[in-house]
Each structure stands twice: as C-alpha cells, then as structure tokens.
C-alpha cells in the first residue's frame, strides 16, 4: 500500500515554475544542486531547497514537507499552517505518510534488486507542516491511510462545531466546509450534546468572535503576536471548553486586526464591517491596489452590481506579503457615496453653474487653453491620480510652461505596512515632473501668481486647493478654473468647468509606490452618471491642445509614458503582471 497515485507518468512531468518561496523544483536532472534535496512527492521527483527563510526572522530553517509538496502543486489539507506564520502543528489535518531510504547495518543505503534505494516506510504518519524533509525521502499524500486520517481529524473538529453555515459569513470560503466535502461524513456519529460557547463576542472595534465555530488553529494568535507584535489573543479553559479570548479589559484594536478574519480558516473571527452584508460567492473579485498610503498594498476588491463590499489583501511578497492594515481596508465607502460628482458642469464668469456635456465642455476648454498665453497656466494634480494621468498633465504643462505641483499628505507610519506618505502615487507625481521638490512648495507660488494676476488659468485634478493655500478668494480671480474631482468640495463648487472623474475602482491605471514599485490596478465597478476616467479626458485635451496624438487605450498610454519618461524605461503594461515591477527611483 505504498504510492497510490500514478507513478508511471509522473517521472516525466515538468514541475511548475519557481514559486514565491524561492525554491525551484527541477525534475530533469538526476542529482540535485548542492543546496537542494531530492525527494519524491507521490512518486514525482522534487528538488526542494534544503532551507527556506523563517517567515518571521528570515533565518534559514529546514524546508518542511508541506513546502516541498507546494513546489509541485500537491495540496496537503491544513488548517493551522500558514506560509507566513510560525508553525504550530496543532490541527493535525496535514498528516501524511512517508518513508526514508533504508540503512543497512553498515550505514549504507540498502538497494532494491533494480538498483533503486530501498525505502523504509515510517510506521507512523507525520504532520507535513512541521516535519523537515531529508534526502531521498518519499512523501505519500494520497494513500487510503492518509485519507482515513484526514477523515478522522475532520470528524473530531466537527464534534463541537455548530454547523451554522446558513448564517455564517465564511460559508463559501471556509476550509472546514471544503474539506468536509472531501473528507466529511453525511451523518454525524456524535450523539451527545455539543459544547456551547459564547457567540457574538465583541473582541474589539472591528472584530466579532463566534467561539463555537473556532477550531483552535491559533493562526490569529500567532499573527497578532508574531507579525503585529500585539500579544492580544490567547486560549483560555481546557479540553472541549478551550476558548479563544482577548486579554480581559484589553480590546483587540490594533491596526491589523482584520487580517485575522482573512486567515481564520472558519467563520469564528468575523469583520463587523462585512458581517451579514453579502454572501461571498456573489462578489466579483478584481485585482487592485490600496490607495490609502504610499505602500500600495495589493488588494482584491469584492463587488457586486456596482457596489463594493470589501477589500482583501492579495499576496505580493515584494510589498505587503499577505496583509493589509484595517484603515486601508475600510477606506472604500466613499466610492459609492450618493453625493459623488456625476455631471459635467459649466459656469460662465460670475454666473451660476449649469449642466453641460463632455463634447461641449471639452470643446470650450480647448478653446480657452489654446488662447491661454504661455506662463499663465498652473496645474495642481493630486498624487492620488495615476501615473498615466499625471504624465498627460505633465504634457499639458510642458505645452504652456505651466507651474505645477501636488499636495503632500503626511501621517504617521508604522514598521509593518503603513507609510507616512498618505498619497498612493507621490513617486509617480515626482517622476512625471508634476510634483515640485519638495512636494507642495510650488503651491504658494501658484497662489502668489493668481494674486498678482500672472496665473489666469488653473487646472486642478483631484484636490481641494482651498485647503492648501489657494483660497476661494483667489479662485474667484481666475479667468478659467478647470476642476476634475470625485467628490464635491469648495474647489469644485468654484469651478468654471467641472469634470467628474473616477475612483481607482472605476478605471484602470498604475501607481508607483514609495519604493518605486509600479503596480497596475483593474476596474471593479462602473462609474456613476457621466463620470469618465481622467486619463480619457486628458487624452482628448492633450490631443486638442498640443496636436500630439496619443493612445486611446490604457495599455498603449502606459507604454508611451514608459518610453517617454526615463525612470519607467523598458516597462510594458503587459510586463507589469499582477504584482508589479520595481524601478530605480
């Protein structure tokens, strides 16, 4: 009863590309490189690295069976193991059978008659998450024995589980559900009363805990202790009454609590924000970037019918590992606000605003800009705009010799993910030449220019300049004020031309984070009313004003920008992939 999977073809199988763990599994050669170990997973030869970095300290530690299995895409069911957390080994779901080369009394490997090393099967199984691999080891993940063990572990886990999937937010992305389908029984053999534990425990401002659902995997405990450094959670009581709890009187309220909801394999930890809002299988998932600070965490937006329900972190080991902060995660509600700018508005000098249309407004703006004298135009563009939009604005600025700047936004950073720079694209604003050095130093000059009357036309993208030194009294002096924004503010109400723009969830584009990683994001929902992506508006304006034709697709526009701006050189939209590319800044 050794290897039950098909060993006939597996020898020649090409293993998948090197994975994020840094190891490469190579099958073609017969002897492994010096820092690799040759093992077999279900009959497939794998070259796995001898050591892998510890997820917390980064020190090399021996590669485990589960990591070696992952190299050849063999999934070993598990609950407590998480690739980014220390190993606990308490759920026992990843039990596998294995064997090692048999040694003779002379300490030499015993050979089979056909010359292959004789494998001595271990009499006991081992947990794949905590057992290091050794040369020549064979791992069997699919034998009837292993399947029986999984069934047994699962039956134990389900003894006190309330089975309230119909009201559980995790349903649909629950590991307990998934493995119950694979290894569960239709009928429970447990006839005693289930142990009941508190439901709806208020752990902190963003987390509700359902203790009955908890399978005590301790992922949340390890995450908050070892990743965040806030030793807030722990287990109390014993046996069947073992319960997850926060320290009495100390709320679980650090800025990373909602990650525990993501890593919870069951529905024990639930987000108060997402609780009972929508079933997860309705959510359309779009790869995007968080815009709340300069880190640019990779996220997945969950949306249904043009409404965003949640952000979740997406793995990118170069940026955010698999985490994101709570502040960034919950910063999405403004996208669906009812007072979003939806219509193109025009206002004659001193008159009241009236609704216009894109074709008319663009025509009028073109006429105004073409007539504008060189040096009489200023541009304030937010560092929340995309690289492509800032690049198009920079081309407009070049045409007029305009004075340009962005608005700096500083907060308090932390050592994990939150950056002090709260603009998602400060680097992009600098690289495209929109932002002054230091950012914001030109704002006073622009205000001065308006006061003196040298600046007659102001183009504002995505900022309320009245809060940054260019007050309403100065805006009233302007001959032309062109504003594009998403939400109404004092600047938009003073605009002569108001162009409703799109949130990042409603368009495509790229941001450059503080470390110079260029990352693209995709469109999750439709924009409200007649709002259009800013790069589309700008593309028309640049064409009308400068006469230079550009690209009408975001892909072409990005590639054009990359060839124009030296810092982005050699980048291609398609080459950015899902996790982006780091450039020298």
């Amino acid at each position: 009863m050794s290897n039950m999977s098909s060993p006939v073809t597996s020898e020649n199988k090409v293993s998948p590309a090197p994975t994020a763990t840094g190891g490469a599994a190579v099958v073609a050669a017969s002897t492994p490189p010096p820092d690799m170990i040759a093992i077999k997973v279900d009959g497939k030869t794998v070259f796995a690295p001898k050591t892998t970095p510890d997820p917390i300290t980064g020190k090399p530690i021996p590669t485990t069976m589960i990591q070696a299995c992952a190299l050849v895409s063999v999934e070993v069911p598990h609950y407590c193991y998480h690739p980014k957390l220390p190993v606990a080994g308490n759920c026992r779901m990843c039990l596998v059978e294995f064997g090692t080369p048999a040694m003779g009394p002379d300490r030499k490997p015993v050979m089979n008659p056909d010359g292959t090393p004789k494998i001595a099967k271990s009499p006991r199984p081992a947990i794949a998450c905590a057992t290091p691999i050794s040369p020549g080891m064979e791992i069997y993940t699919n034998t009837p024995g292993v399947v029986d063990m999984r069934k047994g572990v699962l039956e134990f886990l389900l003894i006190n589980h309330p089975l309230d999937c119909p009201i559980c937010d995790q349903a649909g992305e629950c590991k307990l559900q998934e493995y119950s389908v694979d290894y569960g029984q239709a009928q429970s053999r447990f006839v005693e009363e289930k142990v009941h534990k508190p439901k709806r425990v208020d752990l902190g401002p963003r987390i509700v805990l359902d203790d009955e659902r908890c399978i005590l995997c301790s992922r949340c405990v390890r995450f908050t202790k070892d990743i965040v450094g806030d030793d807030a959670l722990g287990f109390v009581n014993r046996g069947s009454y073992n319960t997850l709890s926060n320290y009495p009187g100390k709320p679980f309220d650090n800025n990373y609590t909602l990650n525990t909801v993501d890593i919870c394999p069951v529905g024990a930890l639930t987000s108060k924000d997402f609780r009972f809002q929508m079933r997860v299988w309705f959510l359309k998932e779009t790869k995007s970037i968080c815009t709340s600070c300069g880190t640019g965490c990779n996220i997945v937006m969950g949306a249904r019918e043009e409404k965003i329900y949640r952000y979740e972190p997406r793995q990118n080991d170069a940026v955010n590992s698999t985490w994101m902060c709570d502040a960034g995660r919950l910063n999405y509600k403004w996208i669906g606000r009812a007072d979003r700018l939806k219509e193109v508005m025009t206002r004659s000098l001193g008159g009241s605003a009236y609704a216009s249309s894109w074709s008319v407004a663009i025509q009028q703006i073109t006429a105004k800009l073409t007539a504008a004298a060189a040096g009489s135009v200023a541009i304030v563009a937010s560092a929340r705009q995309t690289n492509e939009e800032l690049y198009l604005l920079a081309r407009l600025a070049k045409k007029f010799g305009a004075i340009t700047d962005s608005v700096p936004r500083l907060g308090i950073g932390d050592k994990l993910l939150v950056n002090a720079d709260r603009n998602p694209n400060s680097t992009g604003a600098r690289l495209t030449g929109i932002a002054a050095a230091p950012m914001g130093s030109n704002l006073a000059k622009i205000a001065d220019g308006i006061r003196k009357g040298t600046v007659k036309t102001l183009i504002v993208f995505g900022e309320d300049v009245t809060k940054h030194g260019i007050g309403a009294d100065l805006l009233a002096k302007l001959e032309t004020l062109i504003v594009s924004d998403i939400l109404p503010n004092a600047t938009t109400s003073a605009a002569h031309f108001l162009l409703p723009g799109c949130a990042h969830a409603e368009k495509r584009g790229t941001f450059t984070n503080v470390k110079g990683r260029v990352q693209r994001f995709m469109k999750a929902v439709e924009s409200p009313g007649s709002a259009r992506p800013e790069w589309e508006i700008l593309h028309e304006l640049v064409f009308n004003v400068t006469g230079q034709n550009g690209f009408v697709s975001i892909e072409g526009l990005f590639n054009q920008m990359a060839s124009d701006i030296p810092a982005f050189a050699a980048l291609k939209w398609a080459g950015l992939g899902d996790t982006g590319v780091t450039i020298q800044i």
């Binding site: 309330p162 999937c165 009201i167 289930k194 009972f276 809002q277 929508m278 309705f282």
Partner: protein
C-alpha cells in the same frame, strides 16, 4: 421518396367496419364523465407535489424561517429572487439565529416555478405552494415582497426546530445564546 401504397383489401373497401369503429369512439366519449371544468367558477384540485408559486413560511413559533443565506438567490435560474441581508446588526429580535432577510423579493413574472429554491433551502423556509394563477395590473405588483410572501406562505410545522434546540442546549449549559 416514393411511398408505395398497399392495395386495400375487400374488407377495407367495404368502409362499413371503419364507420362502425368511428361511431364506437364517438359513443364512448358521449357517455363518458365530463372532464371540462367551468374555470374560473370551478377550480382545479391541485395534485400533491405540484410546483406553484414559491412563498416564505414561518414556523409554529411565529419565527420567519428564512435566515437570508441567499442560496435560493444564487441558484434561481431566472434571477427572480432578490434578498437584502440584514447588515452588521443582524436581524432584530432574531435571538440565536442572528440573521434574517431585511428584504426578500420574488419577481413572479420572472419565476419559472422550477423549485430549485425549495430544494436548496437549508432552513426549509421557502416552499412552492399551490398557487398557479398569479395576476396583477402592473409589473411592480408582481414583485412580491417579504410581507406578502410570508402572508401567502403561512405556517410550516417544523419538526426539527434546530435553532430552538440550540438555544435550549446553550441555556442548559449556562451560555447565553
């Protein structure tokens, strides 16, 4: 293709037997019990297992059985069902059930009476009942909301009462549900 006709036999050429056979059929129907109903004055007796309009039910305790798990909304082939979940606060007064639909609409113009919603429901909260003739003067009228569905659905005698038993067990162990 040419179909070759068989020559009629003498017996067939007579025609009398064929006329006699026809008369037999006519007489049989003339003497049979009448099957045509005077609908709508006379209503049809709906057979058991008939798939009529889907309605929501309450249990004998008066609790709306639906917990807004949205499986019926997911499985509904014509997308006739639309449920609004209760949101973070849960359903008011739901106790240990926690969830219940804030709104539950079935567009009866879209419904194809397939019965998937009844089949998929983990709470036995929606049943295809005997109503087969739904009429309305506007399209809006044909979208049945939660109150209307519950009123039409009535009470379903729940033999399992799992939530009530869970609450009892928890209370017995001294844990607030």
């Amino acid at each position: 293709m040419i179909v070759k006709r068989d020559k009629l036999t003498f017996w067939e050429k007579l025609y009398v037997p064929a006329i006699w056979g026809g008369l037999k059929v006519t007489m049989r129907h003339a003497l049979r019990k009448n099957v045509t109903m005077q609908y709508p004055e006379v209503k049809w007796a709906v057979p058991p297992g008939y798939r009529g309009a889907p309605y929501l039910v309450k249990n004998q305790e008066g609790r709306t059985k639906c917990v807004s798990c949205q499986l019926c909304e997911f499985v509904c082939p014509p997308k006739a069902i639309r449920i609004t979940p209760p949101g973070p606060q849960g359903a008011p007064g739901a106790g240990n059930v926690e969830k219940g639909p804030q709104a539950f609409d079935i567009n009866m113009l879209r419904c194809i009476f397939c019965g998937y919603c009844q089949e998929v429901c983990p709470e036995e909260a929606i049943f295809l009942m005997k109503d087969y003739s739904l009429t309305g003067l506007t399209r809006g009228e044909m979208v049945f909301d939660k109150e209307k569905l519950l009123k039409l659905g009535g009470v379903h005698d729940d033999r399992i009462q799992k939530w009530e038993h869970k609450a009892e067990e928890a209370a017995h162990q001294g844990v607030a549900p």
